[in-house]
Structure formats: structure tokens, C-alpha cells
């Protein structure tokens, strides 16, 4: 089970957050308090939930049409921004600068 402290322990992590199934921010940690405010992280949470939902729809559709399983259940979504990357699963997300990103470590921490 992921937790915020574990996520903040990922090399380069600047913010970690927990959100509800509707995308509302539940809890957060950040080392950039002026940048990643709770208002910002709440919006990012909604982005994560929206994309997890769309990806799940795609995984379901793809698997039923092609018979090629392996996408569902979706384990996570990553958005690679211009400077920052957000890696998230159903409940938690972590923000890491692009030059420090380690996708495997982020997913390992999220799925731990």
C-alpha cells in the first residue's frame, strides 16, 4: 500500500498526494509549498482521475475488441508535462521533475 511519506522518498519527488475516487484532494505533502498548493494538487488529482477513467474505458474496449488482454485493470497513469511529470494510480499521485523522473521507481512506490 502506497503512502505519502514513501512517495516523497522517491528521488526528486516534490509533491505527493492522496485523492478520493471523485478526484478530490484528501491529503498532501510537498517540498515546494508555494508552487504545489492544495488548490493546485486538487486540480491535478482531478486530472489523474479523469485520465484513469478514460484509460480504463480504453482498456476495456481494446480487450473486448482485440482479445489482447493485459491492460485491465489499469495500474496507473503518467502525464509528462513540460517541466514536471505526474505519476498516479487510483488513489495516490507524485510529482517529479522531468530531469529526475524514474518511472519504475514511481510505479513501484505507488503499487507497493
Amino acid at each position: 500500500m502506497a503512502d505519502l511519506d514513501k512517495l516523497m522518498g522517491i528521488d526528486g519527488a516534490v509533491a505527493a498526494f492522496k485523492f478520493s475516487s471523485k478526484g478530490e484532494l484528501v491529503e498532501s505533502r510537498t517540498v515546494e509549498v508555494d508552487k504545489f498548493t492544495d488548490t493546485v494538487l486538487d486540480l491535478v488529482s482531478h486530472v489523474c482521475v479523469a485520465n484513469m477513467a478514460i484509460s480504463t474505458m480504453q482498456a476495456r474496449g481494446w480487450e473486448s475488441m482485440t482479445g489482447m488482454g493485459g491492460f485491465y485493470p489499469v495500474k496507473g497513469f503518467t502525464m509528462v508535462g513540460f517541466d514536471w511529470t505526474v505519476v498516479a494510480n487510483d488513489e495516490f499521485g507524485v510529482v517529479i521533475p522531468n530531469d529526475k523522473i524514474d518511472y519504475d521507481a514511481a510505479y513501484a512506490a505507488l503499487n507497493a
Binding site: 476495456r60 474496449g61 475488441m65
Partner: protein
């Protein structure tokens, strides 16, 4: 032409936009930049709805989803709805949505 939409009950703002999202004409907001923002949002949202309708069509193999005519997001106080290249901000509690959508559909053919 967007004046006809503005006179409907509950319609607070209307914007018409080009295929690249740039505002052509708008009414109902003091600030032109807000109308431009509404136009760009509607343009972006239209493309997402198109993308999702394409996928729905592909996965369900049921014809009739695409191309999507429009979309509507209903909030507690305000509803945003769009057909073609016109978008409206509507008071959720004081508008007849059927009428607004019908007029939007007509206006989108102008």
C-alpha cells in the same frame, strides 16, 4: 446571430469560435478575454468529445455516435453547452435546456 441565443431564458453568455478555437464573436461577458477563454475551452472540449465518440463507436461497433453534434456539462448553478462552433453559458436553474439546445443546433447551421 448569437443575439437570438442571448434572448433565451437563462442564457448568460454566448461565444462563436473558429475551427482553431479563436473567438469570432461573443456576448454576455464584460471581459473579452473571458469570452476568448470560453471559446478556447469549448474548442478543446469539442475535440475531446469527438475523440471519445470515435472510441465509443469503435468499441461498441454501434453506428450513430459519430460525428458528435454537441455536448453539455451541467453544473449546480451553471451549465455549459455547445453545438458546432457555438458555446453557451446557461443558468442551470432558470433555463429550458431543450430550447437552448434546439436553438444552438439551428444556430450551428447558420
Amino acid at each position: 446571430m448569437i443575439k437570438q441565443l442571448m434572448i433565451l431564458d437563462g442564457v448568460m453568455a454566448v461565444a462563436q469560435f473558429r475551427d482553431d478555437g479563436v473567438l469570432v464573436e461573443g456576448m454576455g461577458m464584460q471581459d473579452e478575454s473571458q469570452l476568448a477563454g470560453l471559446a478556447m475551452f469549448a474548442h478543446d472540449y469539442k475535440r475531446i468529445v469527438q475523440g471519445n465518440a470515435d472510441q465509443l463507436s469503435m468499441f461498441t461497433q454501434v453506428p450513430g455516435w459519430t460525428p458528435p453534434t454537441g455536448w453539455l456539462v451541467r453544473g449546480a448553478q451553471v451549465t455549459v453547452c455547445s453545438v458546432g462552433n457555438i458555446v453557451c453559458l446557461v443558468d442551470s436553474n432558470n433555463a429550458r435546456m431543450n430550447e437552448v439546445m434546439r436553438e444552438l443546433q439551428d444556430a450551428s447551421h447558420w
